[in-house]
Structures are given as structure tokens and as C-alpha cells.
Amino acid sequence: MRENTHPMEHEEVMAYLDGELTSEAAAKAAEHLRECRECQALAADLQSVSRHMASWQITAADTLMSPTITAALDQHESKFTRRSTRSKSSWPALFGGFRIPGWAWAVSAAALILAIVAVQSLTSRHMAVPTNQIAMGQAAEPRADNYAAAPPSPGAIAKIETPDGGNRDRLRAMQSQMASNMELSSNLAVSAPSPRSAATSGDNAGNAVTINYAATARTMIARTAQLTIIVKNFDTSQKRLEEILQRHGGYVGEMTTSAPEGADRKLSATLRVPADQLDAAISEVKELGRVESESQSGEEVTSQYIDLQARLTNARNTEQRLTELLRRQTGKLDEVVTVEEKISDVREQIERMEAEQKNLSQRVDFGTLSVSFSEERKSQLQVMPPSVGTQFHNAAVEGYRSVVDGVVSLLVFFMSWGPSLLLWGAILYFPARLAWRRLRRADA
């Protein structure tokens, strides 16, 4: 076999061309290549592939760094500047050579912030923000971890919580804007009726945002109505129904019509009508005919929506953190894959929740009107007595059937009870005969 006798594998020729062989093996390969025509042809092929591939060149448009990189570089640089500044700091000298540890500074700063917050809370206790008090079972105070994550600046709290007209208006404006956007961060704390709990905000979207949601959220109700109507003219009513729907900006979710021969025509439709137009649409639909049944219901989904929003934001934050982790992760591929799997799971959850949220919003924005109407139709009485011949025929068939049924029943009876009767007859025959004879003797 050629494979066994050939002194050099073809992969080795490739490795030689790629500079991947040890010097000893490379020397051997070079020597072999000088003599072997087959390997020379292979080497030419491999080099040709590389040449072809090299023809696909990509040219980068510009070499400017993005602002993000510049900012990250500044941050990186500032760490070293801080370190060098810290090493030259005169603070130790100021404190007589005693070095205050970093955690002591952090504790002091936290205590100072807490003191300011407490003072602000006490001074603004009389401020009453109207609340609808949506019961969510949440803590009255914002969660500790919210503050731990991003302590709000005292200045911001003072501005918002001061019950002066201008700032209060500003607070209301902010609250209404947040309510309209319905964009709550994961750190959202739905407030209990505590009047002092107003609003605090961080410096950007990623920071903690705590608002008195009860004062701002609109009640979200998913409305459904059901109507059953008997109409006189089916075609006209169907046309009018479509007109009503168009007039109120609704759309057909589902519609089925059936027109079986000899029966009344029926229409069953699920219509989606803007919530504010639903009442008007219902009253107009009712005019189409005689209302046979009507029902309306409303499901409050505010808490459901808020809960969903909070979970969604949490999941997004988790995804962001994982993505960040992945970017920083430059270690083993296994770890990267694990993180990516986690990201994939979280993304799936996010998409599911987004779909749920979209569905919920749609249910609130568009009321569901289920309409079914049927045509008012006078049924025709159809009385057609059968012919005399048919009656005779039917009677003959019935008579024959009765006879056959009777005979069959008798046979069935004897077949099922016969063996039992024979057995008992055999057993009771002699005692009965004896008794009979004695009775006759006695009479004689």
C-alpha cells in the first residue's frame, strides 16, 4: 500500500509549510520534499489555497478610538493617578502618622448620609402625597439593598421632598411621567400609605429609583363583554357590525360565520375595541337586534403588571450583569459557555415576560367584545304522512320482526335456563313422587 510505504504524511507537509514542525522534523521534511514529486504537488496545492485566501483582504475604514474606549482608558489611567496621589498624600501626616483605613471612611460616609436622610424625613413628615394605596404586600420602606446599591444624593431628596409648590409640581410631573412610561426599575418599591415616602432617584437609569407608585399608577383593567343578539337581517347586521368596528378603531380578533342549509345563519366574532370606545361600541352593537344575553366583566391587572415589570427589569439587569461578566471573562472556554448558557436562559425568560407584558397591555388597551348573533328565522312545519303501501310494508316488517324476536327469546330462555331446570327436576323428581304417592294413600 502506498500509504504505508510513503515516508511522510501529507499533513506533515502542511505542518512544514505552516512552520509547525520541530527543526529536526522540518529538516527531514525539506529533504523529502526535494525528492518527492507527489509531496511537491501537494505543497503547491496548499500554497495555492493560501494565496487564494489571502486575496480576501479587509481594510479598516478609520483607526479612531470610540468615545467608550477613551472613557475606559481615562478611568483606567485615573486608577494609577489616584494610587500615586494616595501614596503622596499628606493625610497620614495630618493625623499624626496614623493611617485611617478605607472602610472607616466608607462607614463614616454612610452614617453621614443616613443622618441627612433621617433629618430630611423628619422635617418633611407633614407632606402628604395622595395615594391610591395599591396593596402589593411590599415593605413600607424602600428596601435596604436599594440604598446600598446606589445611595441617593441628599440634594436630590431635599429637592423632591420639600413640600414647596414649585418642587411639589416637579415631583408630580416626574411621577406622572413615570406612570405614563410605566418604566419601573428593579429597585422599585411600591409604597405603603406612609406619607413621608416620596421619591428618590439616582443619577442614571441603572441606579436605584424608588417612587411612590401608588400615587402615580393608573388602574389597569382588562375589560371583556359578551353579547348574544337575534337579528332580523343577517347580511345588513354583519355589514353594520363591521362599520361599528371601523368607526371605533377596533379590529376583528376572530370571526366565524355559518350558514347551513335549512337552518338559521349564525355569526360568532371576537372583536378588539379600544378600551375607551368599548361602551359606545357595545351600545351600538346592541341596536343591531334583540339582545338575548349580555354580560360584562373587568379584571384589574395593575398588580400583575407591576409585578411583571419588576421581574422583567430584574431579569434584564441579570442579563446585563452576565453579559458584562462574559466580556470580562477571558479564561476557560467552559466557563464562558456556562455563562452564555445562563444568558440564554435569562434571555428566554425576558422574552417570555415581554410577550406576557405585551399581551397584558393589549388586553388593557383593547377591550374584548364577543358578539354572537343569529338570524331570526321562522321555521317551516313539515308534515308529510307516509303512503298506504309504506304503512303496510312497515306493518309487515314489524310483524315478522316480532315473530322472529319471540322465537329467538324463547330459545334463548331455554338455552340459558334449561340445564338448571333439568338438574333441579332430576333432583326433586323422586322426593316429589314419593310425597305424591303418600298423599294419594292418605286420601284413599
Binding site: E20, L46, M53, I58, T63, E351
Partner: protein, 195 residues
């Protein structure tokens, strides 16, 4: 010329100039890496920048265990995988072999792109990492978590298959014979299958 590793260590110590030099050296190659693998020019640009961002953020933890070149492409590969995963979620997979507008007219480029597109995914990645990113077999093995011998044999197979795609009229028998020696009489071998 100062080596990449020295520059990276200098940057780790806070030298911005060292980073600038690394940026100049690798900005183009990294852009090329993403551009060849993604259809969106903009996204390729973003991801190239993101690679440097990861380098900056992870500079403190950098250890000179491997070449900076390998380190950068490892980050780039992670970002690429993440991007592909994201695209799989968001919509149709667009990360086929890219078609840069500047080269659309070049017939040979188109041939190469089409030929690469026909290769099996891992083989294509191995071949591209070798040819365009100039990574060693061991680096590729580490990045793709494959044994070294597998990288070598699959790289050979990929080259032979690409040669077949690029020059269908060439001497097929020699290619088939070469492939036979490497892989044995397997029908699945692309060269042998076609030959």
C-alpha cells in the same frame, strides 16, 4: 520593535501610549476578524471596539500566559459567540461569511467567500483562524477546545475541500489521494466524495 507582551504589561502598569500602540497594531486585524465572520459592517466595527474595551477592563487581571495576539482573538471569539447567540435569539442568523461592499466586485474574493461558506463550520473556523489570524495550531486548539491532532487533520481537510471548491477543474485525483492518506477511505470526506 517592542513586543506585544511588553506593551501589554506596560499598559497594565498604566501606560496609555502602550495601549495606543496595541490599538494601532490590532485594530485592523480585529476588525477583519469580525468583518469576515459577520455580515454587518457596523457590528464588526462595534465588536472590534468592544474587544479593546474588554482588554482595558481586564487589564488588571492580565497574566502573560499566552501571546497577546492569542489573548485578543480569544476575547474576539467570545464576543463573536455571544453575538451569534444574540442573533439566534433576535432573528435570522446573519453571521455567514461576510460580503464587504468594497470587495463585492472582486470575483476571486467572491470565490473564496463562497468556498469558505461551503465548508463545515468548525473546519472553516480553524482554517480562517490559521490563514487570516495567523494563529498556531496549538493556539487554535486552545481557543476551540480541540485536541491538537484534530486541529491539524481538520485544517488539512478544510484546505483540501477549499481547494476543491476554488478549482473544480484541477487535478482532483491528487487531492483525493491526499485526502485518503489523511482520513482513510471515508465517504464523508468532501474531496473524496466529490472525486
Amino acid at each position: 520593535m517592542i513586543s506585544d507582551e511588553v506593551l501589554m504589561l506596560a499598559f497594565q502598569q498604566g501606560s496609555r501610549e502602550a495601549f495606543d500602540e496595541l490599538y494601532i497594531r490590532y485594530r485592523g486585524p480585529l476588525y477583519g476578524f469580525f468583518r469576515r465572520r459577520l455580515s454587518s459592517e457596523l457590528r464588526a466595527e462595534d465588536l472590534a471596539q468592544e474587544t479593546f474595551l474588554v482588554v482595558i477592563r481586564g487589564a488588571e487581571r492580565y497574566e502573560p500566559r499566552a501571546l497577546v495576539r492569542t489573548y485578543l482573538y480569544a476575547i474576539a471569539l467570545n464576543l463573536l459567540m455571544s453575538e451569534r447567540r444574540k442573533r439566534a435569539h433576535d432573528g435570522p442568523d446573519l453571521d455567514s461569511i461576510a460580503e464587504p461592499a468594497t470587495h463585492a466586485s472582486a470575483e476571486r474574493d467572491l470565490w473564496v467567500r463562497q468556498g469558505l461558506q461551503k465548508l463545515e463550520e468548525t473546519e472553516r473556523e480553524i482554517l480562517m483562524l490559521r490563514e487570516y489570524e495567523q494563529l498556531s495550531y496549538s493556539d487554535i486548539a486552545e481557543l476551540l477546545h480541540l485536541p491538537l491532532n484534530t486541529v491539524r487533520s481538520r485544517l488539512f481537510r478544510a484546505r483540501m475541500a477549499l481547494r476543491e471548491h476554488l478549482a473544480p477543474g484541477s487535478n482532483l485525483q491528487s487531492a483525493a489521494a491526499a485526502a485518503d492518506e489523511v482520513t482513510g477511505p471515508r465517504v464523508a470526506n468532501p474531496v473524496e466524495g466529490k472525486a
